[in-house]
Amino acid sequence: MSVELVWALITGAALFGVGIYGALSQTNLVMIMMGVELILAGALINLVAFWRYLHPDAMSGQMFVLIVMTVMALEMAVGFGVAIARFRSKGSVEMEEAAELKE
C-alpha cells in the first residue's frame, strides 16, 4: 500500500474529526461554519488522494473536487446571509440564544 495515500487519508480523517468537534462544540454561528469548512476540507483531500493514487486517468475525480469547493463557497455565502439576518434581528449570532428557532 502507498504511504502517500495512507498519509493523505489520515490527514483527511483528522480534519474531519476536528471539524466535527468544532461544529458540535462551538456556540457561535461563524465558528460552526469554520467546523463545517474543516469537514469539507477532509472530504477534499480524500478526493484528491483517490484521484492521484487510484484513478489518475479519470478526471471526474478532479471534477468532484471542484463541486466540493463550490459547496464550501455556497455554505459560506448562505451562512453569512443567515448570520447577517440573525444579527440584525437579535444583535447576536450565538446559537445558545437561538432556541426559539426550534419552536
Binding site: 500500500m1 504511504v3 502517500e4 495512507v6 493523505a8 487519508l9 490527514t11 483527511g12 480523517a13 483528522a14 480534519l15 474531519f16 474529526g17 476536528v18 466535527i20 468537534y21 468544532g22 458540535l24 462544540s25 462551538q26 456556540t27 457561535n28 461563524v30 465558528m31 469554520m34 467546523g35 469548512e37 474543516l38 476540507a41 477532509g42 477534499l44 483531500i45 484528491v48 488522494a49 484521484w51 492521484r52 493514487y53 487510484l54 484513478h55 489518475p56 478526471m59 471526474s60 478532479q62 471534477m63 471542484l66 463541486i67 469547493m69 463550490t70 464550501m72 463557497a73 455556497l74 459560506m76 455565502a77 448562505v78 453569512f80 446571509g81 443567515v82 447577517i84 439576518a85 447576536s92
Partner: protein, 179 residues
C-alpha cells in the same frame, strides 16, 4: 517506501491538522480565521505535492479570499473579536470531543485496513491534466458543471435576499406614492 513526496505530504498534513486544531483553541476570532486560512493553504500545498497543480492553486486562491471575508465578518459580529476577555464560547465539549475522536478513529481504521488495490505511480503533466479536466467539464460532466453554476447563482440570490434589511411598510407605501 518513504519518498520525498510522502515526506512533504506528511509535513503539510500535520500542518493542516495543527492549524485546524488551533482554530478552536484560540480565544481570538481573527486568529481563528487566520489559522483556518493556514490549514486550507497547507491542504493546497498537499494538492501541489500530489501533482494536482490546478486544484492546488485554486484551493489556495479561493481560501485566501474566503478566509479574509470570514475574518472581516468575525470582527463585525463578535462581541470580543480580539479574544482579550477570554470568553468561553463552547458547549457540550465532552460529547463533541468523543464524537470527533470516534469519527477520526473510524476513518483512520478504514484508511489503514482496507486494501485500496494497485497504486498509480505516474500522472499526466499539468497541461494535459488541465486540458482533460476542461474536456471532462464541458463534455461528459457538463450537466453537473452547469448545475453547480445555477446553484451558485441561486445561493447568491438567496443569501442577498436574506441579508438585505427589509424596508418598513410605510417606506414602501411612500415609494409607491412617489411613483
Amino acid at each position: 517506501m518513504i519518498t520525498g513526496q510522502s515526506i512533504f505530504i506528511g509535513f503539510f498534513g500535520v500542518a493542516a491538522v495543527w492549524f485546524g486544531i488551533v482554530v478552536f483553541r484560540t480565544f481570538s476570532m481573527v486568529r481563528s480565521a487566520i489559522a483556518l486560512l493556514f490549514s486550507q493553504t497547507a491542504l493546497g500545498a498537499m494538492f501541489l505535492t500530489m501533482q494536482a497543480e490546478f486544484l492546488g492553486v485554486l484551493q489556495i486562491m479561493m481560501m485566501a479570499t474566503e478566509m479574509s471575508i470570514m475574518a472581516f465578518f468575525m470582527v463585525m459580529f463578535m462581541m470580543d473579536p480580539g479574544g482579550m476577555g477570554k470568553m468561553e464560547m463552547t458547549h457540550q465539549k465532552r460529547l463533541s470531543l468523543i464524537v470527533g475522536l470516534v469519527s477520526f478513529v473510524g476513518a483512520v481504521a478504514i484508511a489503514v485496513f482496507i486494501d485500496w488495490g494497485p497504486v498509480a505511480t505516474t500522472v499526466a503533466d499539468t497541461a494535459q491534466q488541465t486540458k482533460a479536466l476542461g474536456l471532462e467539464l464541458l463534455g461528459r460532466s457538463m450537466l453537473v458543471f452547469e448545475m453547480a453554476g445555477v446553484t451558485i447563482l441561486t445561493a447568491m440570490i438567496a443569501a442577498t435576499s436574506v441579508a438585505i434589511q427589509p424596508l418598513p411598510l410605510s417606506a414602501i407605501k411612500h415609494k409607491k406614492d412617489r411613483v
